[in-house]
Amino acid sequence: MNSIHEVAPSLSRLAAELSGTNPLRVPEYLGPETVMPLASILATILGFFLVFWRLIAKTVKKVIRRARGLPDEMPPEVEMEEAPVDESSKTENISTQ
């Protein structure tokens, strides 16, 4: 008959092996107490993105542009003064009539 000292290591080895196949391993069990805070955190992150996604996208874009050494994205300047009318082309247009 084996003493308890001899059996114990075998039992603990068995337990260790079984735990490898057990589908209800403690770290992987997602009960309500785990899911709810997790969902809450995810919802917070998602909500934050939904509210500020434009700002975030803009900031990310800006950071990338700066990292690449490019200036901030700006609409091109529009010239306020009109170019002088090319009188020769005007005449040409009319004469094609």
């Binding site: 609409p75 306020m80 009319i94 009539q97």
Partner: protein, 612 residues
Amino acid sequence: MKRVIVIGLDGFEPKIVEGLLARGELPNLAKLCEQGGYRRLKTTHSAQTPVAWSTFSTGTNPGGHGIFDFLTRDTKTYLPIMALSRYEQKNAFVLPKVVNMRRGTPFWNLLSARDVQSTIIRVPCAYPPDQIKGRMLSGVGVPDLRGGFGTPTFYSSRTGLSSEQSEKVLTVSVKDGKVATHIVGPRDPKTKSDHKFDINIQIDKPGNKIIIQSQGQPEKLEVQLGKWSKWLKVKFKVGMMQSVSGIVRFNLRQIEPEFELYASPVNFDTEEPLFPISSPQEYAHDLAMKIGRYYTAGMAEDHDGLNNERFDESSYLDQCRLVLRERRKMMEFELGRFESGFFFCLFDTPDRLAHMFWRFTEPDHPANRGVQQPEFAQVIEEHYRECDAIVGEAMKHADEDTLFIVLSDHGMNSFQRGLNLNTWLYENGFLALKANSQPGEGGDFFQNVDWNQTKAYALGLGCIFLNMAGRESNGILKAEEAEPVREGIVSGLTGLVDSDRGQVAVRSVARREQVYRGPYLSEAPDLLVNFSEGYRVSWGTPLGGVPRGLFEDNLKKWGGDHVIDPELVPGVLFMNKAFREESPSLVDLAPTILNALGVPKGAEMEGKDLLS
């Protein structure tokens, strides 16, 4: 056909066009005429931009799309409201959204359903924009940041200056060559006060200019005397972590003896519009990155500034040219990458310019007040020549496989005399005023009207509504009483003579069912007044005024108009393919374009393919 290109020239008047064509001054349009043809184009009842372009897009009469005028009325309060769009907020937790009041199915939706791409620039009554395959930028109907058609601000050091039509006036004081003031932003719906954006103005007298310093973009903006500035991007703080940005231009009128500065209505920011003005939403931003910031308000031209005499004709002309150049840039940029499908670009300036410069073509126009300015007499024709050059530029993108169309929604005519429609209704027993009230005492918004005794009232540009029981909140007319009242108004107004001039002011009055049919007929005005040439509804009528006297001279610089009998103000139609020439109408364009692109016309469309 692989492609259809449509260039819209708002308010392009056939009589002017035909004169210029005869003189050989519109070479590109003449070329189109030779290739395909030219006809006058039947417009809508009434001949107004939003009504007519909605008919162009849906192929139905206004009864099929529900746009009858710029304005309609709130049947609960009788107050005028914008007819083109409205804002909805279901509850405090949902963001407000804008709803387009143009109903019906625009033909580009049918194109999208068949995977045909469209590029549509500044089409009226598409705010918010239709979700299409391709790109769309909204036009007339997009408000300024205050939610109206455009409210400019006039800064003056003169005291006692009062606000004129659709504007804000701010009295400022100049201290040590500096002015501290603000830009007027959107109204706070809770406090009813205006949001403000602070600016500091440094006056440079020797340089004939000012520098506007602010936290906007750019931080320092130079404005030369008598010139339009570049855009200033401003941001209004409207709440905790909430801000609204817009863009504004300035025109410096005077530095001394009085300081006077004009600020345009604050347009939606091109990069971050308050509400969507393009489809896809980022298109407005992307376009700005390519061509620069641009006017986003539907009414881009600052006609109120000229009408209120806050700047002169030359400045208005400069601004119209700015808008035209900007639109041309949009067109050229988009045509440069246009491969197949439908392309549309609308140029509004022919209309806005003719409204303000028509009077120079008529020496006897009351608005001239006896002063002739011959330097402006040719402005409209010169502008038409510029438009012809734009058409020529667009024609370069049309090949054998392209249907190329140039059209206008309506023409233009004279506006010398105004009829006070509500006053006529009052004098003829259809509209009642409260006890001890007389015409001319109440101002706008039907202030002194006694609704319990009123049978009919006028609002908008020539619309008359009956005060119907069960429809209007204080309606008194039963269904069986309506027709005798309508008959009384029709017979009384038809042929109405302006006794001061001995001219017939009203050609006819149309009952709504005579000119409209379709699902939105019940929203239409009950009667439409068809004015003669030279006449229009007075300035005091559209917002519900009952001024003194029947007729009045039009002394405003807005001296041309087209809201008269639609038969007198047809548009123009040019096509590069031979087309059926008997009385083409705006309703024919949608089926023609659809058919050219191989898409069957919509079931509710009323017109016919002009090419078949």
